[in-house]
Structures are given as structure tokens and as C-alpha cells.
Symmetry: C2
Subunit: 232 residues, 2 copies
Amino acid sequence: MSEAQIASLDQIDLFASLTPEERATIVRQCRWRRYKEDEQIIDHLSDTRDACLVVEGRVRVVMFSMSGREISFDDVSAGGYMGELSALDGGRRSATVIALTDTLIAFVPPRLFQEIVTTHPRVALIVMQRMAAVIRNATGRIMDLSTLGANNRVHAEIVRLAKPGLRPDNTAEITPIPVHGDIASRVSTTRETVARVLSDLARSGLVERRGHTLVVKDYTRLVDMVEEVRGE
Amino acid sequence: MSEAQIASLDQIDLFASLTPEERATIVRQCRWRRYKEDEQIIDHLSDTRDACLVVEGRVRVVMFSMSGREISFDDVSAGGYMGELSALDGGRRSATVIALTDTLIAFVPPRLFQEIVTTHPRVALIVMQRMAAVIRNATGRIMDLSTLGANNRVHAEIVRLAKPGLRPDNTAEITPIPVHGDIASRVSTTRETVARVLSDLARSGLVERRGHTLVVKDYTRLVDMVEEVRGE
């Protein structure tokens, strides 16, 4: 166990409430491994049950359809964690996890993860609140898949991406321009549909490419297009 | 607070690890209310944040699309609970809850619910494991909505309903015959589609109505029809 490894767990939000000594004890029981970009970290068929701390890099949680289409569930950056479902309930992996960049993972054995959440209520509460966020997100996605067409799901995803960059003049910037395949896998459609919807939006003046930025020129109108169909 | 109320919390699985005294303390801080069949218990627009213990009866967690179509998420029977997301994260309600039968609910204020899960690790672990089950279920549903057509989603739901009644001769009985509207709201389609798929299955000899029972006559074949498309 290196000093660097102990220090690196300081960046894991989940363990912010633990003492340095408690973190050091955890570090000692973790298995560490580096992954290259695009390398698979968890296979959904694997029988491992560890929770995984993302110490460096960024990972994507996905499933693949029979035709090979990627359905993405979440991206987790350094400081976050994933794989907690199997660590908590002992059940099989619910998804595949792939490194989006070079990544360093600390694997927490399931018994240790359960011990941590049962002896540190603050940690347990964070785990529960994050699971609540995952459930809320999944509920919204099930509603969108059940009630919106693919076009409107692409609109809804652009609204979601634009929201953090919204400005008082009702425009919003998304930088860098999102990759069509990423949008497609988040809203369960094809790249071709994403490309077509984006060029329709550009033609009607609602979005515009400027260098590496996608500018949403009338955020409220785009929100309305989604909510009219959602019924919100 | 009546003896009956204290006793009734004994039936709540979540609190099985607590002492009778601890349960009595909780009972004292709950708000109790009875609901008639079809009455709304939680409005998804409500600003309440209580966790809800189902002491008697049975409830359904649903959302409605703009056109009024019901998308159902979960049924919770006596002994179970719901509404924990808002109690844990203080966020707004993610769904509407309706009484399926006459129902008695004990409302646990959010501060009390958080206190319970942070002082009783066994309770926290059960909450986390149940949330894990909800996430697994939602992930499967998102995959089915993303990759299966409505017909196959109806097939998948019949497989799910038939599984507990599977017999060694590869037949399975579902009693009572499921209501078309219930299947429709679980797999996000219309009653008409469910009726059509069931009559197609009956015509091809895969299912048969016998009184109040739906008999699946070739369970393996039905499973294959789903898995061929899912790619499992």
C-alpha cells in the first residue's frame, strides 16, 4: 500500500466522512487495477461482487442489445463509485462497465462494503441518496420511453445537456458538441435518428453549431416541445 | 396510540430487527390514515416527504402519461413500504400511489425515517437491498423498452407471471387470468395490443383460458420467443 493510494481515497466523495485511519484500513483491503481507454472493467456476466471506486479516469455503465446497440445508463468520474448493487445484495451484475479514459479502480470486496455501510451511517445515507437519484432517473427514462417518440427523446436529452449552460437571454451552450452515438445510447435510438433530429433543429433555427459548441438558440421553445408531449 | 397500532408495525418487514420498544417509539411519531379502494395516497405533485408503511391492504405505484395512459412501477402489499425516496433525499415525489384495496397507511416523517436508517444498520441494509432490486428491475425494463417491440414485451410479462406456476411438464398456470389493463400498464402498451397478442398466442396454441386460469402450454417456447429478441 503506497502513500499515494491512501491519499487517492481522500478524493472518493463516499468516504468524505471517514477519518484518514479508517480510509487507510479500507485501502489495505482493496484490490487495485489500471485500465486503458475502452477496456472492460465489469462484464455483466461476471460473477464478481465488488463495489468499484473510480480513483482516476472516467467509466461508462452500459448494456448491449442483441444487435449490438449500446444502451448507456450512467457515466462515473473520478471520485465516484459503481458496482454497489452486487456488493449490497450479492446478485449478479446488472450491467457492463467500460473505461472511457485511462482509469484506476479500487475494488472493495462485498463483505467490506457491507461492513462500511453498516458501521458508518453517513456513508449509508450517501449510498441511499445516490440510489434514490438512480431510481428517479430510471423512472423518468421509463416514462420517456413509454410515452415519447424517438424524436422527442432526443429533444429531451438536448434540454438536459443544455440546462447547465442556460443564460438569461434564453440561449444555452453545450461544449463540446455531444457525440451522436452518446445521445443515441442514452435515449435508446440510432445515431441516424439523432443526426436527423439535430439537422431538423438546425434547419428550423433552434440550434446552431459554432466551432466546438452547440448553441441552443431558444431553450424555452425546446423545453415546450418536450413538455407538450410529456404533459408536464 | 392503540395496542393494535403497535402490534400492526410488527408486520412491517423493514422493522423486523427492531425491539418492541423501538417499534412503539416509531408508532407514536407516525400519522395514520385509512384509504378506500382507488383512493389516491400520494399525488406525484404533492410536497409531502414521508415514507409510507403499508399496514393493511395493497397499493400501486404509477405514473400517468399526458393522454392518461397508466404506467405502473410497483405493487406494494401489507408489510411493505414505499415513498422512501423523498424521505431520504428530500426531493419531490417520483410517482403517484393509489390504493388497490381498502388500505391503512402509517406515514413516517422524513426526519424520523432518516434517524431510523442511520441508527439501525440492519434497517439501512434492507432499504439499500430493496432499492437495489428496484434499480435492477428498472434496468431490465429500460432494456426491454429500448430493444423489444410491444408484442415481445407482452410475451416477457406473461413469462414473468407464469414463472412461479411452472410445472415439470413445461406448462404453467396463471391464476387469476391477468387483467389486460394491468399488463398494458406494466409494459407500456395499450390494452388493445395486449388483447391482440393474447389472442395470437391462443390461436397458435401457446396459451389457453380455462375458467379463471390462463394456462401457458409451452413455457420454454415462450421464453425462447423473448430471449431470441433480447439476445440472452
